[in-house]
Amino acid sequence: MVMLHAHALRPEPEVLLDLWSLDELKGVRRTSDMLEIGAAEPYTGIIASPEVQLHLPALAAAAHTIGAAQIQNRGTLGGNLANASPAGDTLPVLLAYDAVVVTDRRSIAIDEFFTGYRKTALQSDELITAVRFPLGRQVTFRKVGTRAAQAISKIVMAVSRSPARIAIGSVAEVPLRARRAEAALERGDVDGAIAAVAEDIRPIDDVRSTAVYRRTVTQNVLRELLDGPHSPSTPTVPAFLPRR
């Protein structure tokens, strides 16, 4: 993926295609059994969408933690997916919802999307057009960073109880599903899930945190999300945000 970095686009492109002007890649659409969000719909629109607030409150909550207004006005699910950072804040949410990545040629289950550190199942000329979410799933979300805004996650987690999904970012080379913890949760064994999650993750020491901290906090956050009320997390959306 081409990104603006250190004063220039890297890698330097021969041709630049601006996807921002393509209305087909924007918007939030509801069908009978799913919600589809355009790959280039900015987070501001996702946060303000009544459909997202109603059906995918964990996604609205995650979008609200990304950067601040300047970033939320430009950042998109398509960008978060293609960048494939293990710290991408919407990515555990997509995993917990079993989202489907729609491209110009196929649909890719989110479970099969991340193939390695910043690597995806996308072909080099493949365009993400939308992300589809099933309806009716209860997902909770929690991000831990150094401050409420403009923070890259130390750990970020999204959890569904039924079906059991425990998805975590910033604890491995990819956004991760904690399979052993999920198996324990599926049996109703909450303590077992919290014990197992420490074995599922592969955290490292880096500039933002340490492996020890991440392992401890991952277990604490999982306990909080499993012990807490079973209603979805409520995003704190300021009332003055424009409704689109």
Binding site: L4, W20, G67, R74, F240
Partner: protein
């Protein structure tokens, strides 16, 4: 590339991959827009594109073709006098070194356009993408809130 800058039609030559920030400062002389971190963390380079606040260090100039860009130079009134918000920054001591001020003003300008009934928390959330190393933020928040009355 052609776009509107503070209400005037402007054009620039060269690659569409250049940063909007550089085109504003170097080609168009709009040096009110400052560079801080250059990676979308600090908000010093905030500008408005079609009325939405964005970091101009993260925008390729090709992306503003045909769009409406407003920088801090566009906040003053037509006769050159400062806006109410700009006066409030002066009165409240909300500007010290001044590097964050253009971005703060633009982010606050958008907030005030969205609602005149803002709480302290609304302002803090709305300005969370703009870092200030001098003021401790309180005077900035006070200045913005003074414009809601």
């Amino acid at each position: 590339m052609r776009f509107t800058l503070n209400g005037r039609d402007v054009s620039c030559e060269g690659s569409g991959a250049r940063r909007l920030l550089d085109v504003l400062r170097e080609d168009l002389g709009a040096t009110g827009t400052k560079e801080g971190c250059g990676e979308g963390e600090c908000g010093a380079c905030s500008v408005l594109i079609d009325g939405e606040v964005v970091d101009s260090c993260l925008v390729a100039v090709g992306q503003v073709e045909g769009r409406d860009v407003v920088t801090v130079e566009g906040l003053a009134l037509e006769d050159g006098s400062l806006s109410r918000l700009q006066h409030a920054f002066i009165e409240h001591g909300a500007a010290q070194c001044g590097i964050c001020t253009p971005g703060m003003l633009l982010a606050a300008h958008v907030l005030l356009q969205q609602s005149r009934r803002l709480t302290v928390d609304d302002v803090r959330v709305g300005l969370a993408g703009n870092l200030c190393r001098c003021t401790g933020y309180t005077k900035i928040v006070d200045a913005v809130l003074s414009c809601t009355k």
